[in-house]
């Protein structure tokens, strides 16, 4: 059962972030941080289908993490989130068109190794 929740948590978290980023990138760079600008960005978030789907997927991921924690220790659950860093980076090129340089890959791998280490 715990592997089911790992897969759920990693997949929904990965697509949650990818869809959120994909939707938000359609907005264009935010430059106005006055009250008017903040209201606009909140309205954009609340009405954009892709962003809302991303937020929903992240909610599923959070609930799956809680379910995972009820059947497995934290030291098992945390490395699972490290796995999603790798998956998000792999999919960022085909889904978001980001150019992931070797230097950035090295950073992502180091962060993932570090997350596995801190869970012991």
């Amino acid at each position: 059962m715990k592997w089911f929740w790992v897969v759920m948590c990693v997949l929904s978290g990965t697509f949650g972030d990818l869809w959120s980023a994909q939707g938000m990138q359609e907005h264009g760079e935010i430059q106005n941080f006055r009250l008017h600008g903040l209201a606009r960005i909140l309205r954009f978030i609340a009405t954009h289908k892709v962003v809302l789907t991303g937020i929903g997927a992240n909610a599923v991921s959070f609930i799956s993490l809680l379910a995972l924690l009820s059947v497995a220790p934290l030291s098992f659950a945390v490395p699972a989130t490290a796995l999603s860093y790798i998956l998000k980076t792999l999919l960022a090129r085909p889904m978001l068109g980001e150019h992931v340089t070797p230097r950035r890959w090295m950073g992502v791998v180091l962060v993932s190794i570090g997350i596995v280490l801190i869970s012991f």
Partner: protein, 143 residues
């Protein structure tokens, strides 16, 4: 929508740094507030469900934590409009280090040497990625 070629200006750098700090701090302190909130709660199996819910809804730490996590969500979504996901994710992982420090010095939890080692490895990854450009493709500009 206009398309512009990435041109980091000093105000852009400042905005970028401010948002990294906002994302990392709101997440860490939001989680810290939630952890403190749960310490002030009775065990869920020890009291009737209704009084557990009443304790939950009158817990100020819970509200502070939820508000901070809402700030975290909106600031992360905002930053997606000008920076790569593969830049934001590793750079904001510096939060793991601050969480370790907060657990040790605010919550007085024991941190194993391996966990400190993990924090150092994360810090190395953060430094590597933070020296790459924030965005690797042309982005739209707010009209």
């Amino acid at each position: 929508m206009n398309r512009s070629v990435p041109q980091p200006a000093s105000s852009f750098k400042l905005k970028n740094r401010l948002f990294i700090a906002l994302i990392v701090l709101s997440n860490c302190f939001g989680n810290l507030c939630l952890a403190i909130a749960m310490r002030h709660m009775p065990s869920i199996s020890a009291v009737p469900l209704l009084s557990y819910l009443a304790a939950l809804l009158t817990n100020p730490w819970l509200f502070a934590g939820t508000a901070l996590l809402a700030v975290w969500m909106v600031s992360t979504l905002s930053m997606y409009t000008w920076a790569d996901l593969t830049y934001i994710l590793p750079v904001t992982a510096s939060g793991y280090i601050i969480t370790a420090l907060l657990s040790r010095f605010v919550l007085n939890e024991q941190i194993s040497p391996l966990r400190w080692a993990g924090s150092v490895v994360i810090a190395l990854g953060v430094v590597l990625v933070s020296e790459t450009p924030e965005r690797t493709k042309p982005l739209g500009v707010e009209e």
